[in-house]
Amino acid sequence: MSKSIKRSKKAALILMVPTATLLLAGCGSEEPVQTAVYQNAEECAAFYNPPAECQAEFAKAQQLHAQVAPKYQSKTECETDFGIGNCETPATAAVSTDPNAPVQQQQQASSGFFMPMMMGFLAGQMLNRGGAGQAAPQKSVPTQPLYKSRDDQGTYRTASNQPVARKSGVTSVMPSQMQPKAGTVVRRGGFGAQAQQRQSMTSGG
């Protein structure tokens, strides 16, 4: 007769117990965090950042570009906002980026819309060293592409038109304003309808 134990060695919880509320703390007043803005990976490296990290952050921003850039039906509409020659189709964006670009970008190639070219990037994750002797760990902001509008060519802006900085290098931002939003209208609520219809049921069995 085997004498192996047939139950778990431990059954611990880390999130469901009351102390877990600590993890949810910190929704009060928001503080600005330091981050950095660069035109491209080369400029980032020229600011004494590790070139490999610069390249990685740049690539991350570029990948998001097709997702979050504002989208326009025509080139003219796009250029009205971003300036002549500053708009592209997702197809050219996809070609100019990684050859193993996600399927997502390739599918967009056929959808025939225009978006502004990426003019720089917010290096969200990179700037936790150096700085002004501020050693405390700070909330980071997502790495993302930045754009420049036709009527304000000096300012880096996020895809949702939040101004970030007027020059490359270190800058301060409010994290809540730096959350990338998609350029197209996002739709929600496409799942869950039958749970409504078949009310009183739980989804499990």
């Binding site: 047939k6 990338p180 929600r188 609520g189 496409g190 799942f191 309808a193 749970a195 069995g205």
Partner: protein
């Protein structure tokens, strides 16, 4: 296998609530019931439950290539044709799966009979993996159960191991219908275990899932890399965002191929392929020409959860029907097998798998032959 009365732990309700088990009582009726427990011998567990569970699971898996290669079978299972290739791809690329639960009729002797597979959105996970485990430790500590008592319940260990070892993209979102506390309880438990395994686990109410150009996105519009969804595949395929499943670059738990096994149509297919297997009951698809149901048969919709829309005529001809919302899918019929009774309650065994390994049991009791959402959950021990 026997049922034994035992004193409840004083104040267990407060403890339950402190660990997030908010649904221990349902509409004023007990759901977690520790006024008694079931006792099995190790031989009963290993020979009659653990081994057959893994065998039935392998039998079920063996059906998947058969189904994918046969349009008639896909049609019989009511899988919309638009999803066939996508579904086949999830199997061809060996998308990993997490867990499942077989419901077994077993009375302590003779072969356990498979009633159905819950392979897409099985619940009662927390009660099984955590709460009954703690119950045993507590009762041993109080000296009410012998130190040598064990439990067939490696669910939490195996889930943690599965999360640690499976190729899972991150962050992984965990999603359930907003406002459903029982589902949220299951999700919280899985997220807890996933976090312990080092997974970046985040919650997203199903209704907040967004879509941009065919890619599913989170509340900040970032692409969803991986998602555990406690929501039936058969609903998702038929809802507004269904078609985005085909284009969204997202890893799913459970993977799409699991929907074939959570379908009651798997029961007649199992019977066709493994006729007279000791753990199977005769089953067939109902057709237009099927006669009205004779005593000793049960009628189940292909898609049904929590006992809904099940009709049963026992061997004496007594008819029992549970109403429900699943009236729109085809039905199967399965030979009736009586559930054992203990203290005037009918007892069902839910036998868990994590990946392809048997991982423990949870016991449900109901006043009727059809086990439902409201059926009580009782703990068990192994003692020779």
């Amino acid at each position: 296998m026997k049922k034994i009365a035992i004193e409840q732990r004083p104040g267990w309700q407060d403890y339950a609530e402190s660990v997030g088990f908010d649904f221990h009582t349902f509409d004023g009726e007990p759901y977690w019931d520790e006024t008694g427990y079931y006792q099995f011998s190790l031989e009963q567990i290993e020979n009659d439950i653990e081994a057959p569970t893994e065998e039935l699971h392998q039998m079920a898996l063996s059906l998947i290539p058969d189904i994918l290669a046969d349009e008639q079978k896909l049609i019989a299972l009511d899988v919309p044709a638009a999803y066939w290739d996508w579904l086949a791809e999830s199997w061809r690329t060996s998308q990993p799966h997490l867990y499942g639960r077989l419901d077994l009729a077993y009375n302590g002797q003779g072969p356990a009979k498979l009633l159905e597979l819950n392979y897409d959105t099985p619940t009662s996970l927390f009660e099984t993996g955590f709460f009954q485990w703690v119950w045993l430790e507590d009762q041993q500590m109080r000296g009410r159960l012998p130190q040598g008592a064990d439990q067939f319940n490696s669910l939490q260990d195996k889930l943690e191991q599965a999360f640690a070892e499976m190729p899972l993209r991150q962050p992984c979102y965990f999603s359930s219908v907003d406002g459903n506390i029982e589902d949220k309880g299951t999700i919280n438990y899985l997220m807890d275990i996933a976090s312990q395994a080092g997974i970046d686990a985040r919650y997203l109410p199903l209704e907040q899932l967004g879509e941009i150009d065919g890619q599913l996105v989170d509340s900040q519009n970032f692409p969803i890399q991986a998602m555990f969804k406690l929501y039936p595949w058969e609903f998702m395929l038929r809802e507004e965002f269904g078609s985005h499943l085909l284009t969204s670059d997202t890893q799913w738990l459970e993977p799409a191929w699991k929907m074939l096994l959570s379908n009651k149509g798997i029961l007649p297919l199992l019977w066709q392929k493994f006729q007279n297997h000791p753990n199977l009951l005769p089953a067939f698809f109902e057709t237009k020409d099927s006669q009205s149901m004779a005593p000793g048969w049960v009628r189940k919709p292909l898609y049904s959860r929590e006992g809904a829309n099940i009709e049963l005529i026992d061997l004496q001809g007594k008819r029992l029907v549970v109403d429900g919302p699943y009236t729109d899918a085809p039905f199967i019929r399965q030979a009736f097998t009586p559930l054992p009774t203990f203290d005037n309650s009918f007892t069902l065994i839910g036998s868990w798998l994590v990946g392809d390994s048997a991982a423990g049991i949870g016991i449900r009791e109901d006043a009727t032959l059809i086990t439902k959402d409201s059926s009580r959950f009782l703990p068990h021990i192994i003692l020779d």
